[in-house]
Symmetry: C2
Subunit: 310 residues, 2 copies
């Protein structure tokens, strides 16, 4: 058993009362298309519309009472902002969410709707970090990183942990790779028994290149529809990924859109582009998965319906 597996078990006990036990869905037709047996863990049905609340909860629940009273903060324009807000609300503690002025108004509204204190800053990462530092010094709030924090990583691993409770005989699991938290957590859950694969857009293939070079690489562009996967790996998740991930499979933008459309049309569930990279990876690497039982983490379903690619 890997060194974090017991932590994963405790984490699941710690957070399960606050989250949905999401269903695992299958489609005969998609199985036929992919040539393998697919088990979709539907975190698009999770609270906040994504898996991210798992990690946020695990981190917050381990704060001291004094820390909890001062609240938590993060900077994000995506699903982690909503996740921290929801987790903090569940535990009745303050959440300070720093969002760039460039963030879509629907996302700002969503965080406010969940009761978060939104603080708007300038558009750059530097602006966000400066504003976070200001909030931390003023309020004493604890900063939560969306992917490079061991408690967050272990929390995200509970999605695969539940999938494997339901289907212990899987041969492989595929997750999207953005900041690396989800795939690192999935490695802990697989615990050497399943092959873990990552799906990543060619346009932001930092994880693919990082595994090749052995050090954390950056993206030069962010030109992908998979808006959740533009971030880069961190020094806490990268060693886990490097040790355990079998392969990062890259997919084109067209493959992502086609895979997303197929899942919408055939499974009747809404998944976001970042989640579609996994099924796209399956379709583009049929030999790798041929006749195998493959778990897929559907990471989220937060899509702007007025901006669809089809």
């Amino acid at each position: 058993m890997g060194k974090y597996y017991k932590d994963l078990e405790s984490c699941h006990q710690r957070i399960e009362q606050y989250i949905h036990r999401t269903p695992v869905m299958s489609s005969t037709l998609l199985n036929e298309m992919a040539g393998c047996h697919l088990y979709f863990k539907c975190e698009n049905f999770q609270k906040g519309g994504a898996y991210k609340m798992r990690g946020a909860l695990n981190a917050i629940l381990q704060l001291t009472d004094e820390q909890k009273a001062k609240g938590v903060t993060t900077h994000s324009s995506g699903n982690f902002a909503q996740a921290v807000t929801l987790a903090a609300r569940s535990l009745n503690i303050p959440a300070y969410i720093v969002m760039p002025s460039s963030a879509p108004s629907v996302k700002v509204a969503a965080v406010k709707g969940y009761g978060g204190n939104v603080i708007i800053c300038g558009p750059t990462l530097k602006d966000r970090e400066a504003m976070s530092d200001k909030i931390i010094s003023e309020t004493g709030a604890t900063f939560l990183h969306p992917s490079n924090d061991l408690n967050v990583i272990i929390g995200q691993g509970t999605a695969a942990y539940e999938l494997l409770q339901d289907h212990p005989d899987l041969d492989a699991i595929i997750t999207p790779v953005g900041g690396g938290g989800l795939i690192a957590g999935t490695c802990i859950a697989a615990d050497g028994k399943q092959d873990v694969y990552g799906g990543e857009p060619y346009a932001v293939d930092d994880a693919y290149r990082s595994l090749k070079s052995g050090k954390i690489e950056s993206n030069e562009t962010t030109d992908t529809i998979a808006d959740g996967l533009k971030t880069q790996l961190g020094d806490i998740n990268f060693p886990i990924i490097r040790e355990c991930v079998k392969e990062i499979i890259r997919v084109t933008e067209e493959e992502i859109v086609d895979a997303m459309k197929l899942v919408w049309e055939r499974m009747k569930i809404i998944i976001e582009p970042s989640s579609a990279v996994t099924f796209a990876a399956c379709l583009s690497s049929k030999e790798t998965f041929k006749n195998k039982k493959v778990g897929i983490i559907i990471s989220g379903g937060n899509v702007d319906l007025s901006q669809l690619p089809f």
Copy 2:
């Protein structure tokens, strides 16, 4: 116990091995918006993407072996065409599907993809009936009506039957009203214990007017986004509807689109416009359902993603 309730129980036993037991989903946020507790029976996840296979199976399974060998036929450009094809394929008998030349090519392709023999005819109802008659005389196939056939009606009632097995304490059930098969079957399943409501677009409010006048009324326009609800009631389902349905709630096109968007955005499931009339009816008649436990039959999820209203 109503006179068809025992038939409904036998029907469920007869068909359950061929269909999916679809899940019942809920959303805290939609409950808050509607001011009641909603239980969505997700027939969008049913085989063929709609509840229609239930009725088709129940009718086909009661044919004699000789009838089965000669096959079945229907005329439809919608979900019933796919349902009959799928049901016939499950039972390994021929299906002859008459579709008007005006049917969308995606729907023709779907029926062909499921193995149905598609026969294209002219665009009018008369053309379809003439072609059906020709096929019946040539092949000896049995004609299946999508909504005005007692076996089909009872089959459609199994969706509400399963919903009530899972949630026996519901106060009310809402279904969309098109040809009347689903709501009549739901009346049989509710068996006087739940109030049954129908949701119907103002643009095709034949059921609303039929209940007022006491005789089957026709629609003068078909100008609604709810493409499954343009048909009119029949002489077999109308007496059941007239006796048991508490109220038909009419909704505007705007209310349908808003309700559909809310379900997509918040529940992350794809429902077709015809299914959204039920939740729209809930939102437009809040006093009727206040604090009640309300079942909603999500009838289907077959949507052309290139023709979305948002």
